[in-house]
Subunit: 212 residues, 2 copies
Amino acid sequence: MNGNEKKVPAVVVKRLPRYYRYLGELLKQDIKRISSNALSQKMNVTASQIRQDFNYFGGFGQQGYGYNVEHLYNEIGDILGLHDGDTTVIIGAGNLGRAIANHNTFEKRGFKLVGIFDVDKNVIGKVINGVEVMDMSHLEKFMENNRVDIGILTLPKKAVNEAAERLVKSGVRGLLNFSYTELSFDKNVAVENVHLSDPLMTLSYKMKQSEE
Amino acid sequence: MNGNEKKVPAVVVKRLPRYYRYLGELLKQDIKRISSNALSQKMNVTASQIRQDFNYFGGFGQQGYGYNVEHLYNEIGDILGLHDGDTTVIIGAGNLGRAIANHNTFEKRGFKLVGIFDVDKNVIGKVINGVEVMDMSHLEKFMENNRVDIGILTLPKKAVNEAAERLVKSGVRGLLNFSYTELSFDKNVAVENVHLSDPLMTLSYKMKQSEE
């Protein structure tokens, strides 16, 4: 991070993808400008929250007549690093790995899937969304010859630590971990641990509230 | 919600599943008590944040010697509605639907999968994790005869609105939507829209930060 910038709180960072998605929807609808008030109504956050969030990044120059949607979309995309052409590999070609390989949104966001790896001989050699599943024992060789920025971990929990370490040794700078465990590495490797049951628990909470 | 309680901010609600998971890990390690300081180090949030969060629910009676782990785990589970025996159906038996049906964590959190539905004749009749895939045209009939609390939507975007409406008409009170679109219903139906590309974007942001 640039030493002159304020450290952006994690909750603000977490909202950036949501802003990005909403702005993408507005662009599709050919909406050119939006006020923080209109954006706040659509997104169900307060307008002052939006302005506060955006101020961490210089405010994006809202004028009296609102934000330029395309400019804001591109700026937030820049901040999120979506224009860097990051490449990904998926480790684990089970149901979740296949779902993610087929999930076009990852590509739409600017991430390019360059490899899928598994240990299962029945899966190796199959092609998923145009990418061949390779033998996990060839991971290091592949990484020598291809730039890979991000490892997406969709393999069983018991195998995730070893796979993560091999990826990091081979040079990935980020791990997206779906394996229901908390990975962490030193500062040079970013990690996002995703827990699919978290939103189910949040939903359950909301259901309980609306009952009472 | 009870009129005497403070409305709990959405960011606090979002942290509850995380507290729950961590406390579950501590229980597994047979840890009986933990201070907010020790918990904060493990979870990478400040101790004052934890105390503030817990105060929304009466503070859980921390004593000088810390929280009782099992008590706290059970209390948060209660607040999240994990002891209500909620039942789920999955709509869409593609890769993601299958991944979720096989995902034991949902069951471990107290949610019981009672049905899977699809429109694809090649999938109908198959058994996933002990549950048969049924014909989507039989949804209403099934819902008449079975209590279903939550619909998990893992079907293509273009089909999600109709499926959601049929579920709500048949009595579900909550929707967990993985279909890359923003659903919303009136107050009586809780909705969580999950976007799998959000954590990838957050990861990308973190990678950009650690570069600079």
